[in-house]
């Protein structure tokens, strides 16, 4: 039983990073494909499309920071806390990255046909980013409650 708890603790430590990175990969891939498609159909504004398609990458960075914040000597006392915070924040970061990628793809599609709405079209993606920041900040706050050893 103790071994299982320890394994879960290590999984929780790595989870925010790996799940955040997975979400960012999918999100950036969706938005990136839309950006490439938009570049085929337009003569300018390429940088904007690529820039928007990179937005979901921030969740991987949040995940890495959460992982470092959770890093401490793994014991039976801290493992459950690390597992809980790590897995839950990782899943949340993954989903926000995927949905932000979908928002970015829609923004690119809309802005391509109507460039004047570009800044407004990325607002939904910014909202999603805000929720990812909530997850990130409160994961940091909650990890402060886990003893160092």
């Amino acid at each position: 039983m103790n071994e299982i708890i320890m394994i879960l603790g290590w999984m929780g430590l790595y989870a925010p990073m790996v799940l955040g990175a997975l979400g960012s990969t999918v999100g950036c891939a969706i938005a990136g494909q839309a950006a490439i498609g938009a570049m085929l159909d337009t003569e300018s504004g390429y940088g904007r499309y690529i820039g928007v398609s990179a937005m979901p990458s921030s969740m991987a960075i949040y995940g890495i920071v959460v992982m470092f914040t959770l890093t401490r000597p793994m014991t039976l006392e801290v493992a459950p806390g690390i597992f809980s915070i790590g897995v839950l924040s990782g899943v949340a970061l993954m989903l926000t990255a995927i949905y932000q990628g979908q928002c970015c793809a829609s923004a690119i599609l809309a802005a391509k046909s109507k460039p004047e709405i570009f800044s407004l079209s990325v607002v939904p993606a910014a909202f999603v980013e805000g929720f990812a920041v909530f997850v990130f900040i409160f994961a940091l706050v909650a990890s402060g409650g886990i003893p160092q050893a």
Binding site: I36, G37, S113
Partner: protein, 226 residues
């Protein structure tokens, strides 16, 4: 994973220029057929085949070469081969609309639907049309609001305006249902079908439309034509 299925053709859809909001303001298609076909090469093999079948079925001119039995059978085959329910409904809707228009044309041409020579169409309205053959709108005026006007235009010989009305009905339907899909295969199909309509309108001439419709009416006398 979490709704990713709907994003299979993000690049393809983003590479296609938007259709005009108003069909009748379009003087040309958003892109040429050659460029459209080049972009459609991104489709998976099965999707490309499905799209080809759907386009083939809904291309009025190609269907004209066939008889009614072939059309009904082919329609059933194509619809059955499509896995996506949205697309099945989309094709069925279009074929139902054509069935209603065919019924109008056949009645205009003097055909009488009775027990011996019943009207045969595709979709949910065929039985209703047969039962209400003598009613101007086949009793479908409330469900198909454009039908009353279509019947009046056909009766008064305003075939160009009738064609315009029907194209507008189809265009609006595609626009409405297309708003449920943006980056998946149904979105691609809706885009291509709207492209077909834009292409038809862009190459339209009032005179040609009249001639074409006259020929359809002539054919309706002899055979069942969709």
């Amino acid at each position: 994973m979490m709704g990713l299925k709907g994003y299979g053709y993000a690049m393809l859809m983003a590479s296609l220029p938007a259709h005009p909001v108003d069909l009748f303001s379009a003087s040309q298609t958003p892109l040429s057929r050659i460029r459209l076909d080049a972009r459609l090469k991104q489709l998976a093999e099965k999707d490309a085949l499905d799209l080809m079948r759907i386009e083939e079925l809904l291309q009025w001119s190609q269907i004209m070469a066939a008889d009614d039995r072939f059309i009904v059978e082919k329609s059933g085959e194509v619809i059955a081969a499509i896995e996506d329910r949205f697309l099945r409904d989309l094709i069925t809707w279009r074929l139902e609309l054509r069935s209603v228009v065919v019924a109008l044309r056949k009645r205009q041409a003097g055909f009488i639907s009775d027990a011996r020579t019943p009207f045969v169409g595709i979709g949910q309205w065929s039985g209703h049309i047969q039962k209400n053959w003598q009613k101007p709108d086949f009793g479908l005026g409330l469900r198909l609001p454009w039908l009353v006007q279509a019947n009046q235009l056909l009766a008064s010989g305003q075939v160009y305006r009738l064609e315009k009305l029907l194209l507008g009905v189809v265009w609006q339907h595609y626009a409405a249902v297309g708003s449920q899909h943006y980056f998946d295969f149904p979105a691609v199909v809706v885009y291509v079908l709207r492209w077909d309509i834009t292409n038809r309108w862009a190459h339209y001439h009032a005179e040609a439309a009249v001639k074409r419709f006259d020929s359809l009416i002539d054919r309706a006398l002899a055979e069942f034509v969709f």
